[in-house]
């Protein structure tokens, strides 16, 4: 129990008075509260959970980010100035995310923060970045339908993952889709997009179902697969449920050659946990797979494995976490040293291109999302994906693809088109 002593209270009041005295003038000087890089260093925040439920995947994001920062510094930094990462551990908890973000933005005055895996944690920090005009770089594929002036999105949105995937599935397997997802916003938004695409292709949704997060008993769901006999099971189930679903699918005698699962969320990580024999023959669409062959990816995988051990893996979230730091450095390099603030970095980032492991990517100057290279992978026994299709061109991000009449503009607003 804290006790009030007279001295403590006096100190506190004096402290408040001091803060007021020194704090006040800032109101009058425009933008003086803005984070600004000073001296020979550029401070950036790194906000990925190192503990808690999503620690495994977020640790890989933290590592990819720090590795990119090291590469940039080894190559001479940004116009001779070193990037200094300030690492915080938000412990997989949205409230802690908000608290740590406040520390990075207000206390450390970082000019940008790289962070978040879940949408919940991004939503939790958003008000802080908006209030203090700072900039958040978010690497995860997500459901879209967000447009913030204070976020650069480098992960895929639904139109990028599905534009080629759904037609390919229809062509190769058939028009009858069963949509199965975990019960939260991401699967529902993805399925909205899927339904629109299917409608255009003359496809049919024979079932749409959402299971509770963490669900592991799929006998009833599998029963429905058997009865409705879809051509494709379109899955946006996440986390441990993915493992349970794949195992019970095979144990029930279903055959991926006739009724494959097509997922937007099953990565090398889940395949390793379920075992290759249960993933074999199912498909995932993502802009990046560890097995993708390009000089940039060979370099990226080798660098991760030499730094974090030969068993370290890369995945479709750690790759954007890596290349977005390089995009940040390119944007910052365009600016004069005295002008390095989050809003100027954001403007400089628009149109930036970088040769990422997945291919040449670009930040869109309208919606601050990223042009990416969707690929279709087929899961293999060894836990890797064999890439069987890839987009011939980069795909434009459209976070409001499923919502005609709504667009994301640089002002961060959603407007009705005339």
């Amino acid at each position: 129990m804290a006790q009030f002593s007279r001295r403590g209270v006096v100190k506190g009041v004096a402290g408040l008075a001091g803060a007021a005295t020194f704090g006040f003038p800032q109101i009058w000087i425009k933008n003086s509260g803005l984070a600004r890089a000073a001296g020979g260093e550029i401070k950036v925040g790194v906000l990925y959970s190192l503990t808690g439920t999503t620690a495994i995947i977020e640790t890989s994001l933290n590592q990819a980010t720090l590795m990119a920062i090291e590469e940039i510094n080894a190559a001479g930094g940004v116009n001779g100035r070193k990037l200094v990462p300030v690492v915080e551990d938000p412990a997989s908890d949205p409230a802690t995310f908000a608290e740590k973000a406040r520390k990075l933005v207000i206390g450390e005055k970082c000019v940008s923060v790289f962070g978040s895996y879940t949408s919940a944690s991004r939503k939790a920090v958003l008000p802080i970045f908006e209030r203090y005009h700072n900039l958040y770089w978010y690497p995860t594929l997500y459901e879209g339908r967000e447009c913030s002036m204070n976020v650069i999105y480098t992960g895929a949105v639904p139109n990028q993952q599905q534009r080629d995937f759904v037609p390919w599935l229809v062509k190769n397997f058939g028009k009858r889709f069963y949509l199965i997802g975990s019960n939260y916003i991401y699967p529902k938004e993805e399925n909205n997009v899927c339904k629109i695409l299917l409608q255009k292709l003359g496809g049919e949704v024979v079932g749409e179902e959402y299971v509770p997060l963490g669900h592991s008993e799929f006998s009833s769901v599998i029963e429905k697969f058997k009865n409705t006999k879809p051509n494709v099971i379109f899955s946006t189930v996440v986390g441990d449920s993915v493992v349970a679903l794949h195992r019970q699918y095979k144990a029930a005698g279903l055959d991926p050659a006739k009724m494959p699962m097509a997922s937007l969320t099953t990565s090398e990580e889940e395949v390793r946990a379920m075992g290759g024999e249960f993933a074999l023959g199912h498909f995932t669409s993502a802009p990046y797979f560890m097995s993708y062959e390009s000089p940039e990816n060979a370099k990226f995988v080798a660098a991760i494995q030499s730094k974090y051990g030969k068993n370290a893996v890369t995945n479709f979230v750690s790759e954007p976490a890596y290349f977005q730091v390089h995009l940040f450095a390119q944007a910052a390099a365009k600016l004069a040293g005295s002008d390095l603030t989050p809003p100027t970095i954001r403007e400089a980032a628009w149109g930036q291109e970088y040769k990422a492991p997945e291919g040449l990517v670009k930040i869109d100057g309208q919606n601050s999302h990223t042009y990416l290279w969707p690929k279709i992978g087929e899961a293999q026994m060894n836990g890797q994906f064999k890439i069987i299709e890839q987009s011939k061109e980069w795909v434009e991000p459209d976070p409001y693809w499923a919502y005609p009449g709504q667009v994301c503009t640089p002002k961060g607003m959603v407007e009705k088109k005339a």
Partner: protein
């Protein structure tokens, strides 16, 4: 017709897993009178025991099941000696203590084995489906069903047909009188707690190839297990079996008619209504108090 058979089997399969994870809890709750909130973590430890033995020693699932029983059972015995027996008669304190124990076990696994999902192999002979009465059913689920029936029979014999079981029933009815007749009640409690924990270990070992293995997997199981025990009535083996059957078929059927989210909500609602009007559960006998 095959639809109905399929559905009944699927419900039965859910029921067998429910029974498997609640059997140990029912025994501990019913005889020792302890509400063991760490039960889910005992299940989790069973699953990790299999992963560890498979990964490090290359053992198959069947020896792992036996070893998981003894490993988690031994841990249960230690827990009873160190913590639980100091708290008999203090229901709220045991709830708090076992909950804390659950948190500790979960974090210990997270720190030692890591937080990632773990891979446990399904025995190759059981990973396919078998054709049975006109439908395809999972061989592994049949195996779980059979093993659950065997464990149930073993438990029945242990409680109703052995000297240990007779002493156990005596202690449950009246610990003071049992003590007067020379029954070592403290030992009975310790052995019962260990047996219940061991059953949880087997449950964890059996679900690990079918579901996923992660440090927080126990959280869901403990809720299911309590639901079964509360509906069945404490200390009634028959009640636990009936209740697992009812809840399994009901959630399977409702999930088939609507979806799993709705099914879960309706089953919970049903349980709440039931315990409002029949707090002692469907089949109630006596509970040890104090």
């Amino acid at each position: 017709m095959t639809d109905i058979f399929n559905q009944v089997f699927s419900g039965l399969s859910i029921a067998s897993i429910l029974l498997l994870i609640s059997l140990g809890l029912a025994i501990i709750y019913g005889t020792v009178g302890v509400i063991n909130l760490a039960h889910g973590e005992f299940v989790m430890l069973g699953a990790y025991a299999v992963w560890f033995l498979e990964d490090h020693f290359g053992l198959g699932l069947f020896p792992c099941i036996v070893l998981a029983f003894f490993a988690v059972g031994t841990l249960g015995w230690v827990v009873e000696r160190l913590i639980i027996r100091r708290l008999y008669g203090r229901v709220l304190d045991t709830i708090l203590a076992t909950w804390g124990l659950g948190v500790i076990l979960q974090q210990a696994i997270r720190l030692s084995a890591g937080a990632e999902l773990r891979y446990v192999q399904m025995p190759p002979g059981l990973s396919a489906a078998v054709h049975f009465a006109g439908v395809d059913v999972s061989a592994y689920r049949l195996f779980v069903l059979a093993l659950t029936a065997i464990l149930l029979a073993v438990t029945y014999v242990l409680i109703f047909r052995t000297r240990f079981g007779m002493r156990l029933r005596g202690v449950v009815q009246n610990p003071e009188i049992a003590r007067c007749f020379g029954v070592n009640t403290s030992q009975i409690y310790a052995m019962t707690f260990a047996y219940g924990a061991g059953l949880a270990g087997i449950a964890g070992a059996l679900v690990s190839p079918l579901k996923s293995v992660s440090p927080d997997m126990g959280t869901g199981y403990v809720v299911d297990a309590f639901m079964v025990v509360v509906v069945g009535g404490v200390q009634s083996l028959l009640g636990t079996v009936a209740s697992a059957g009812i809840i399994g078929e009901l959630s399977g059927g409702l999930a088939y008619l609507s979806n799993d989210t709705i099914a879960k909500a309706i089953v919970f609602l049903g349980v709440v209504v039931l315990i409002r009007f029949r707090p002692q559960g469907l089949f109630a006998l006596r509970v040890r108090r104090g």
